[in-house]
């Protein structure tokens, strides 16, 4: 297959891209892919994030007039920690710090969806030292949900049992924090 851009070299990259909700397939050689920003030179297997982001702008303006005002991209949004503006993030395609994820939180789901085949939440490895705490948090969330349902069903005695379980986990957690700090 020959490259769609230069029509000279062989196409070695075969990318699917979504622009304005339309799926397009691009077959290009690596050189053209680099020149057109479909891939980063430093990270071999990603398409250009700038491309995806600019595609997103088109998507928002032409296909989502019903979007709530709060979801319209405000270019002046800044990260409270590293001061990177949302506009700069879109331009460079790189976050400035880990807090950017929170600062630009409301804009990120569509981006992640687009880059990661519709996925938005992590399901893989958890850092070892954070593992127990996160696991406890997951339990507590489950119990809270259970407690709410029991209260709604007016099963107050059972709800109290669940509440005690939550307390127990929280106390254990608090004492383990004191122990860590005491070290």
């Amino acid at each position: 297959m020959e490259c769609q851009k230069c029509q000279k070299r062989q196409a070695t990259l075969h990318l699917t891209n979504y622009i304005n909700g339309q799926k397009t397939e691009i077959h290009v050689c690596q050189q053209c892919a680099l020149e057109n920003g479909y891939i980063d030179s430093e990270d071999e297997s990603s398409y250009s994030i700038q491309d995806l982001l600019s595609g997103l702008f088109n998507f928002n303006s032409s296909f989502a007039p019903q979007a709530e005002p709060s979801q319209v991209l405000e270019k002046e949004d800044k990260c409270s920690s590293c001061n990177l503006s949302y506009h700069e993030f879109v331009k460079t395609g790189k976050f400035g710090c880990s807090h950017c994820y929170e600062s630009f939180g409301k804009h990120l789901n569509p981006i992640f969806k687009r880059v990661h085949s519709g996925n938005m939440a992590h399901t893989g490895k958890i850092p070892k030292r954070q593992h127990d705490r996160l696991q406890q948090k997951r339990y507590i969330n489950d119990y809270r949900e259970q407690m709410k349902q029991l209260i709604d069903a007016e099963k107050f005695e059972e709800a109290a049992v669940v509440r005690d379980k939550i307390k127990e986990i929280e106390q254990k957690h608090a004492s383990s924090i004191r122990k860590e700090e005491g070290e």
């Binding site: 790189k94 992590h122 070892k128």
Partner: protein, 355 residues
Amino acid sequence: MSLQTFINKAISPWMQEEGPDHDIVLSTRIRLARNFTNVPFPVRAEAEKLKQVSNWIKEHFDKQSFSSYQELDYISMEGLQSLQKKALVEKHLISPYLVEREKESGVLLSKNEQLSIMINEEDHIRLQLYFPGLQLEAGLEEAFKLDDWLEDKIDYAFDEQRGYLTSCPTNVGTGLRASVMMHLPALTLTRKIGKMIPAINQLGLVVRGIYGEGSEAVGNIYQISNQVTLGRSESDIIEDLHSVVEKLIERERYARKVLVEQSELRLEDRVFRSYGVLKYSRIIESKEAAKCLSDLRLGIDVGYIKHLSTSILNELMVLTQPAFLQQYAQQALTAQQRDIKRATIIRERLGLEKS
């Protein structure tokens, strides 16, 4: 320096081993991207902050050993000459981007060169492990152990919902990029690969040619890697990649068999012509060398050539890259001088094989 000594220095020990499915899979790489919490990412951090990162790494991990990865050595980019840096890039131990960054960037390298941890690249930490042949599962297991070992001393930037936080949104979540380097001459010759690639892309995997100036798959060497890092577990990602690679291996083997059966003398002729070019030419461009090396390796794999070792392709693909040629010559070379040196090194390397 004799060529053998130079090869021993230039070729990482793991590259000379034969891994699973080594007739087609040259190597497996597992990469994890990680960052320190509360330090801005390298693109945005001040030099002072990045220095804290590199100092922390030096202090806690320089000269340390973990499992079979002995004597980690911290190499600062600022301390290297440009040819040395290029040679590390040609060995795939560091990225061109790390070289560009310079500011407080470096690499922690194990003695066997199987583990390289780039510091202050696009992310604070880019841990990479290489394995000969196809070893995705074992590779991931090793990478996790190393990741845990680093995490004992480092507070990672991690978010419950988004996972490991990275500078580029394309790496967030697992931070995992698993890639497999494959030699697919028969699928390329029969033009089957072009049809398979779009289907592979549908699975969230990327296929690209490597080596050369970035156009086609020079030397018929392709890299298959995952693109999605968020919303799938590491083992699921690896599993998908593994099954695609297995399919490719199966097809490549079949295509080779059909080629041998149907092409009668033509394939054999092609292989031996390439062998002749490598053995006798005095001037050879990198592209021609890569094509001939691919033919030669195919000839070894299908049994036309019996007295040469299979590691010849991997070795010579590295040795004939510009920085290595110049290191071997111990001087800067023009493009024309490189073509001469390349031909010499190939002739010498073939001469090391007993005939």
